[in-house]
């Protein structure tokens, strides 16, 4: 294949950004100087040409961070360096909403307009910004800055939230929560003046983990106590004890402990972690490389637990992954972190470096000949990349479109090799399981819901934040733990599990927060979101925002989801405007039909759950009659 380029040339800056990421080009085939004597007849085409494809996303990040947008010339140069067709590179770049393919001011503020922030005044902030700086997306401050509306930034406990990025030679990112219109304006001004601080943020332990310091905590016990930057402090607080034990007892025993623990994945799908690992372990003799991936693409609206864990206790994530590597025989791991978490990225990068320095990652872990290393990958603004097979495609340098299953990731995952994908919270449970033993862990909680769980309590609640409890409590107890209903104090509804979850009514507060308990009332725990709405909130507006969220975040691959989410939003808009086609009843019936088709025929979980919150609300309230 000859790659064909358009006439657009990259600028010196663009070339520098790409070369800084990829190193200097070595051969004329990837943009280097041609030396007729040495490489006149040597070709690097075919399979060789595409083997760098997995570097595509980091390279696009590099261009976006340095230049502020990705130009046709830059696409050409990236394509040349990686041996990829420009049409495909463009297709990938245009998939992510943090990348801009049109010229854009270097300083950008992303202002969250999602449901948790809606309960805390994000609409007012956007309104004020509109009147002060002009509509979203329009350049302001002499064309040097702009602001955009953004889906959930994962800062719901400190809502309303905003994030600013300033591109340039030393790009800066900073989050602001709680945000005000003036605060966002100052953030932009600082970006334009070049005075945004180099450090991304600080974890506000008091605001994010109200229980911090309590003696009952297990998963969160180090958050706020150990600094999160010091490996020594982590070790003093039982850190790396579990890894030492895991290496001693060997892979089979580790897998056995995790199976005995009955640990279910905490990302939303609740798949038994031990089964995943066992599947990989059983394939070890085939000689194929195995991968473990930490899914840190936490983008479900209302979810922020993984962020808090990664910011507050990053070594625990690294240790959990390393134990996964011991169990599965993987030698390479990836953390796929959502692009909107600059501080977590900083903390994890630091933790990985520290672990490498002390022989806890690398060629000879703990001096026992164990080989494992972790690469941090940052997403670029795509909720769908949290779906495990979309995540593989994203890492591999393809569009983040989910794959059809089967084959399942444990058979053909990343690079079509056996892969285990685990959520951050799942992985930080693992060291505890190894330390206390699987059987002991399985005794905590009730029925099939065992162990500890993190809850993202947000919305109209007195003390929002991440809460940890053993399984078994009720929704009412959790709300009491968080200080009760805030806002006007009169609870209207609770959203469990995020945008892909379900609403429950105040009369259902005694539901046990377990997998079985929520299933029994037609709800789900999902990613642990518990979002409260007082009765001043127009639930129909919340439903519309959820519909808009799915419309913005569907990958567009399969028809039921691509068109279904649009029709769902249109129907809701008509119902809210009291202009139904036919009657409200026929419209509601149509919503349910669309919901069923999306649930039945979509490729992945996004389409399959895009109507679930809406339908749960229709089941509980007559909102449109």
């Amino acid at each position: 294949m000859d790659i064909h380029f358009t006439a657009d040339e990259p600028s010196v800056e663009e070339k520098a950004a790409v070369d800084q990421e990829l190193g200097s080009p070595e051969t004329p085939w990837d943009g280097g100087q041609r030396d007729v004597n040495s490489d006149g007849r040597v070709s690097f085409g075919g399979n060789y040409a595409g083997i760098h494809r997995h570097k595509l996303l980091p390279t696009l990040h590099a261009v976006q961070a340095r230049i502020g947008w990705i130009s046709p010339g830059a696409i050409n140069y990236v394509s040349l360096r990686l041996g990829l067709p420009p049409a495909e590179v463009y297709g990938v770049a245009s998939f992510y909403h943090l990348f801009s393919l049109t010229q854009r001011p270097p300083v950008v503020a992303h202002v969250c307009e999602d449901i948790a922030c809606m309960t805390r005044g994000s609409e007012e902030i956007c309104g004020k910004l509109e009147s002060k700086l002009g509509p979203a997306g329009k350049p302001c401050m002499s064309g040097k800055a702009t602001w955009l509306r953004s889906p959930c930034l994962g800062l719901c406990e400190r809502a309303p939230a905003a994030m600013a990025s300033a591109s340039g030679k030393s790009p800066r990112e900073r989050v602001l929560a709680p945000a005000t219109a003036d605060g966002v304006e100052k953030l932009l001004r600082d970006g334009v003046d070049g005075t945004l601080p180099a450090e991304a943020d600080e974890l506000n332990v008091k605001a994010s983990v109200p229980q911090a310091g309590s003696a009952n905590l297990v998963l969160l016990r180090r958050v706020g106590k150990a600094s999160g930057t010091s490996l020594d402090e982590y070790r003093k607080a039982d850190g790396y004890e579990a890894l030492r034990k895991a290496v001693e007892i060997g892979p089979e025993a580790v897998v056995r402990e995790v199976i005995d623990s009955k640990l279910l994945g905490r990302g939303g799908a609740a798949f038994p972690t031990g089964k995943k690992w066992e599947a990989l372990l059983n394939q070890r003799k085939q000689g194929r490389p195995h991968y473990v991936i930490c899914n840190a693409d936490e983008s479900e609206p209302g979810t922020f637990k993984d962020r808090v864990v990664m910011e507050g206790d990053p070594f625990a994530v690294i240790e959990g992954m390393t134990i996964a590597a011991v169990a599965t025989g993987a030698q390479k791991g990836y953390i796929y972190l959502r692009g909107e978490y600059p501080f977590a990225a900083e903390r994890l990068t630091h933790a990985i470096q520290e672990a490498r320095k002390t022989g806890l990652l690398g060629e000879n872990i703990l001096g026992r000949g164990l080989k494992f290393d972790i690469e941090l990958r940052r997403g670029a603004g795509a909720y769908i990349c949290g779906e495990e097979t979309a995540l593989f495609n994203s890492i591999e340098g393809y569009r983040g479109e989910p794959r059809n299953k089967p084959p399942f990731p444990t058979v053909a995952g990343l690079f079509r090799q056996p892969t285990s994908v685990n959520n951050v919270e799942t992985l930080v449970n693992v060291p505890e399981i190894i330390r206390m033993g699987g059987a002991a862990y399985a005794k905590i909680g009730t029925g099939n819901s065992v162990g500890y769980r993190l809850w993202c309590v947000c919305g109209h609640v007195t003390r929002p934040g991440v809460y940890e409890t053993p399984f078994g409590g009720t929704l009412r107890e959790l709300i009491q733990m968080a200080g009760g209903v805030a806002g006007n104090g009169r609870l209207q509804a609770v959203l469990l599990g995020g945008a892909a979850g379900a609403f429950v009514a105040p009369k259902e507060l005694d539901v046990p927060l377990t997998f079985e308990g929520t299933r029994a009332i037609g709800a789900t725990l999902g990613s642990g979101v518990v979002m409260l709405f007082d009765d001043s909130v127009d639930l129909r507006r919340i439903l519309l925002r959820i519909a808009e969220f799915f419309r913005d975040e569907t990958c567009g691959q399969c028809v039921p989801c691509r068109v279904g989410v649009v029709r769902q939003q249109e129907t809701l808009e008509r119902l809210i405007a009291r202009k139904p086609l036919g009657t409200a009843e026929t419209e509601v019936r149509m919503l349910r039909e669309m919901g069923q088709a999306m649930r039945d025929a979509s490729i992945c979980g996004l389409g399959q759950t895009a109507s679930s919150a809406l339908e749960s609300a229709l089941n509980r309230w007559s909102l449109f009659s």
């Binding site: 067709p85 049409a87 297709g91 245009s94 028809v559 039921p560 249109e570 069923q596 088709a597 025929a601």
Partner: protein, 306 residues
């Protein structure tokens, strides 16, 4: 003299030519579709099995010559024990599967898929649509006149074919044909996301600036007429396109030694387009620019001028 004779670069094998090994016998998989038992070779899809039973399964993004992408979801069937419906075109048949192809759930999903497509895309030149819509009772009008569509201006940037993405159902077939499934040119890819996802060259640059080699294999696989020969497009615009007055003649491409099959479509003594049968064992319906578009010489009066 003999040492001057050229030596064969590749030694010529002596003796009888070895016979090709017999084709490996594939194990058979037995499954149940709509209550009937069928057995198909291992590796077959549910669609293959349904076809063997004579069950007509609707497909839009599926083509025998391309890797199934299973994105249109019109072929979904109900698999016992599965939480969701499964795509017949790509799901491999497994022993003991029990499948329903015409249950209420299946019919609802298929109908909604057809309604979603017909309400957002111009399907007026998609030959399969009327039949499918009737079969499943699809009523795309019910989403109202204001339902969002992908309507956009036709792209005419070259003399050989037009791209009318108002008619595109995003089946990925053209991308596959342009890429690894046939042409390996990679001029087009899917760009954007969600409802805005679309087929595009880099930055939507005109085809004449892109990697396109005008093989026209993307037109050959397009199920909706979004990609169309310019000759056909112009006749349709002028109202002179009339398939009932066309003949189709199979012949061999006159250009090179590959010998691709051509199907010449003729109307009123003029060639209006050239296609190639999908079941050709060498080319699988693919042609190059010469075979696909290089027919105008036929129409030149070859008598030398006096």
């Amino acid at each position: 003299m003999s040492d001057l004779a050229p030596k064969a670069l590749i030694p010529v094998p002596r003796g009888p030519v070895p016979e090709a090994p017999p084709p490996r016998k594939r194990a058979m998989v037995e499954l149940k579709i709509d209550g009937k038992t069928v057995s198909v070779p291992e590796g077959s899809t549910i669609l293959d099995a349904a076809r063997k039973l004579g069950i007509d399964t609707p497909t839009l993004c599926f083509l025998d010559t391309l890797t199934p992408v299973n994105v249109c979801r019109v072929c979904v069937v109900e698999l016992e024990g599965s939480r969701t419906l499964v795509p017949a075109c790509s799901r491999k048949a497994e022993p003991g599967m029990s499948i329903k192809t015409d249950s209420e759930r299946v019919r609802l999903s298929r109908r909604l898929v057809l309604e979603f497509l017909a309400s957002s895309v111009d399907v007026s030149t998609a030959p399969q649509f009327p039949g499918y819509s009737e079969r499943y009772g699809a009523d795309p009008e019910r989403f109202g006149a204001k339902a969002e569509t992908v309507k956009q201006p036709v792209k005419i940037d070259n003399d050989l074919y037009v791209r009318d993405y108002s008619k595109c159902i995003l089946c990925y077939k053209c991308v596959e044909a342009c890429g690894v499934d046939a042409q390996n040119t990679f001029a087009i890819a899917v760009a954007g996301r969600g409802f805005d996802a679309h087929i595009s060259t880099e930055f939507d640059t005109p085809l004449t600036n892109s990697a396109c080699v005008y093989c026209g294999n993307c037109i050959g696989v397009c199920p909706t007429g979004a990609l169309m020969f310019k000759s056909e497009y112009e006749m349709r615009q002028a109202g002179t396109w009339n398939e009932s007055r066309q003949t189709q003649t199979d012949t061999i491409c006159p250009y090179c030694g590959v010998g691709c099959d051509l199907t010449v479509h003729e109307q009123e003594g003029k060639i209006v387009k050239i296609t190639s049968p999908l079941d050709h064992s060498v080319t699988h319906g693919n042609l190059c620019i010469k075979g696909r578009f290089g027919y105008r010489f036929v129409e030149v009066n070859s008598k030398p001028k006096k």
